[in-house]
Subunit: 138 residues, 2 copies
Amino acid sequence: MFSIGELSRRTKVKVPTIRYYEEMGLLAEAERTSGNQRRYDKAGLERLSFIRHARDLGFSIEAILSLIELQDHPDRSCETATDIAVSQLADVREKIKRLKLLEKELKRISDGCDGHGVSENCYVLASLADHELCEREH
Amino acid sequence: MFSIGELSRRTKVKVPTIRYYEEMGLLAEAERTSGNQRRYDKAGLERLSFIRHARDLGFSIEAILSLIELQDHPDRSCETATDIAVSQLADVREKIKRLKLLEKELKRISDGCDGHGVSENCYVLASLADHELCEREH
DNA sequence: CTTGAACCTCTAGTCACTAGAGATTGTAGA
DNA sequence: TCTACAATCTCTAGTGACTAGAGGTTCAAG
């Protein structure tokens, strides 16, 4: 049995965040000492690792809640879990696509400027002001 | 002179968002009709387009505030604007890098599952639970 | 038995909006 | 000119996923 601080150290999840996860129903309510402090065991550690890992992968709290519900009903099909992962993947790919376009434009913008006065037509400001200067839609 | 709704239609920025930008100091306080409704001119339209474009590129409100301040003091060097753009570009590249790692892992995860029961070792759930299954750190 | 780090709950703040209530205004058609 | 009613106004509260701080209590080492 270990304290919330120990759990925090082991999982790299901050203490208030752990309490927040409990409040959100991601973590079961922890056992308490006679003095009302939370105590965790290996199961708690594992669940928090799961949550942290899923959050790192960009899953929303809500999605994780579904995943957890699934774990607690092992009779159901794995399909839902796969659906959630697949939709997460689509999300990530969309984000990458958008960011790559932005990267291109930002590179173009920041390469165009070389430290002259703003009054003499700063390319950064001009580019932002005038969408016509973009190479493509975004 | 046009209304906030018209401005919204032209810039694709929602009406409450326009009011929010005004409150945040990104947009100057608009002129008003005798009945207290906001009226905008070409200058307002241009500034809002600038803001929208910068937001699309992921600049924070705070960064845009700096950029606007720069526009209003054309005597200063363009360097600050370039710095902001360059740091934005670094941000975007970092995000792309991270997302690509996630994409890889998510692909691996969602490919591994084919609809069998969760109890028989669903790969999605197992992967999330056990970081050891990751190909690399994230 | 004392000290002080760690813990507790609670409220409020973050960012960039978004939604809704309830009241007022602008404008097009009769 | 009157009447609808869409659009506008202000204000408050909610979103997601935390983070920060106040003020009080408990645990564990010395």
